[in-house]
Amino acid sequence: MDLISNLGHGAAIALSPVNIALCFAGCMLGTLIGVLPGIGPIATIAILLPLTFGLDPTAALIMLAGIYYGAQYGGSTASILLNIPGESSAVVTAIDGHEMARQGRAGVALGISAIGSFIAGTIATLVIAALAGPLASVALVFGPAEYFALMLTGLAFAVLLARGSVLKAVIMILVGVLLSAVGPDLTTGQLRLTFGATWLADGIEVALLGMGLFGIAEVFRSLEHGEARKVKEAPIGNLLPGRAEMRTSINPILRGTALGSVLGILPGNGAVLAPYASYTLEKKLAADPKRFGNGAIEGVAGPESANNAGAQTSFIPLLTLGIPPNAVMALMVGAMTIHGIVPGPQIMTKMPDLFWGLIASMWMGNLMLLVINLPLVGLWVKLLQVPYRLMFVGIVIFCCIGVYSINSEPADILIMAALAIFGYGLTKFGFEPAPLTLGFVLGRMMEENLRQALMISRGNPMTFLERPIAAAFIVIAVAMLVVGVLPAIRKGRDEVFTE
């Protein structure tokens, strides 16, 4: 079978000693930074991205995949032990996970989260391998009009999933699109919105945006509260869940994996919904829903698996269509571009080594987490005991090093500082930075595809409605926006998020 031989081919590449070492280093460093409170996967990857610049493309992507999973796992560790989720998808884990930690079962919570993530990762890897081929061949018939319409659908979906006001989410996406326009126009090369400054002439790097809006701005927010957090003094306890705990967890893990795999494929960051959906589902299915919120192991196993499965299948839109569905994948695009790889359906046929090597290394990354990172949990706990008054200094210096390593350009650090103030301001006015990032990432691609589509149609905007696939995407996008504004649905949506 093709699938098996392709995966075998990938495994052969991923299992070279150098690549194993890189995947391991990525996992370790990803966990190291990701475990810092308030630092989610976006900021972690942004900080560590420069480390991969010197590697060859396949090795770089394998290391990045390791960083990504490490960051995810680090985020779960911080939510379970500290109740400080680094990003919205870890919020759910914190509910029952932190409660388990308070009962002295932190080890089991961390263990089941790693085991669940591993099972989810294994299944999701197979899903990617099976779906990538068919989807990539579908993508080959897409023209610029279809791409533009698809990205519009992704943005509409992001609006639907954003928390709080729909209007504010739309504005954030537009601001992101506008920020992406800073720099040279891709066709004429004329500079736009650069204030005449040479250091803005190349536009804004997505890693800068990630570190400014999600790294430094988060430090500003955390400093408001002072030393409020407390590391759990209770013992970590057993790491491996017992037989009974495994039995209660296995079905939530499988259900979470299914939910996460499906939601992760959707353009527009469907993965962010997966842990919430899984938590709600497990609570509905449970014989005794009252246990949820009081340290129910299913409340950790399900959402963590869903989160990891979604994190993994969100590679699908990127690898098959070339469209990053969220900010993390946008950083992956940034990394690929630096190595001269254009993400899209052609990757699979033109660079099978890279494609299948990456997919195999995803599974390897998950395995690393289970067998190497889990036993190191004591180390991460020690790290979390560093008081925040010192920890944030470390975060600031990591961001400085990360930014400087991208272009060796000191002005980039100032841009990051400006973005950090901007990000702090956003939260003060009730805006969320996540939709902005997605708009930023898709902005340039949308402009290019819009320009080409209009050129092909000789300036006729009806082309988006006359081509059936494009029209279908537009209809879906409009429908989602309408749904987002309907009061009844909004209420349900808010309930899911406040759960």
């Binding site: 420069p50 480390l51 010197g54 209007l167 504010k168 739309v170 504005i171 537009l174 601001v175 699109v177 506008l178 326009a181 126009d185 066709t187 004429t188 004329q190 736009r192 919105l193 204030f195 430094i216 430090v219 500003f220 400093l223 408001e224 002072g226 008081p387 925040y388 008054r389 010192l390 944030f392 200094v393 600031v396 210096i397 990591f398 400085c400 090093i401 400087y404 390593s405 000191p410 002005a411 650090i413 100032l414 990051m416 500082a417 103030i421 702090y424 003060k428 006015f429 009730g430 902005g443 949308m446 402009e447 819009l450 320009r451 209009l454 050129m455 000789r458 300036g459 006729n460 905007p461």
Partner: protein, 165 residues
């Protein structure tokens, strides 16, 4: 919720100061962007110019801002939040110092300086502890990033002493 809003007789009541200010800022920012783009051509639908997308995006943002201003009189919303300036001020200063010193005299000076300044962003700063932390972190980062991971960080560059490594 904002319990402090007093109803003015006959006038519109301000229900969401946060949205009002946010909306006004957006309108002003979008006007500024449109002005900045005034020298660039918009092109035609068939051949889009460089200003087409940013200009209309900015206009849309302006409209969004105007709607927010309008909504602030109709919908109950949040009050303006307090800005805590201590953290941002010290950290921005630290970033500026790092940017100014990283090329010359290099990381071994830039990093501890930046960390010492940033540390005062916290109200709970303890100077002696901070100094130790800054020195240890600088050495650890130098080892990790420059020597283990081969990042292009200039460590110590002093032309007068012909130092450059």
């Amino acid at each position: 919720m904002t319990p402090t809003n007093d109803a003015r007789p006959g006038g519109l009541r301000l229900r969401s100061p946060q949205n009002l200010v946010a909306g006004l800022i957006l309108v002003a920012a979008s006007a500024f962007v449109v002005w900045m783009l005034s020298g660039l051509s918009q092109g035609t639908m068939r051949t889009m110019g460089p200003a087409m997308l940013p200009r209309w995006t900015a206009v849309a943002i302006g409209i969004g801002g105007a709607v927010l201003v309008g909504l602030s009189a109709i919908q109950e919303g949040d009050a303006l939040e307090r800005w805590h300036l201590r953290g941002p001020l010290f950290i921005i200063a630290a970033l500026v110092i790092f940017a100014g010193t990283i090329r010359q005299p290099g990381f071994l000076v830039a990093a501890p300086l930046a960390m010492l300044v940033a540390g005062f962003g916290s109200r709970e700063v303890r100077p002696r502890e901070l100094v130790i932390f800054a020195v240890v972190m600088t050495l650890a980062c130098a080892l990790l990033f420059r020597f283990t991971l081969n990042q292009p960080l200039p460590m110590l560059v002093i032309p007068a002493l012909s130092l450059n490594f």
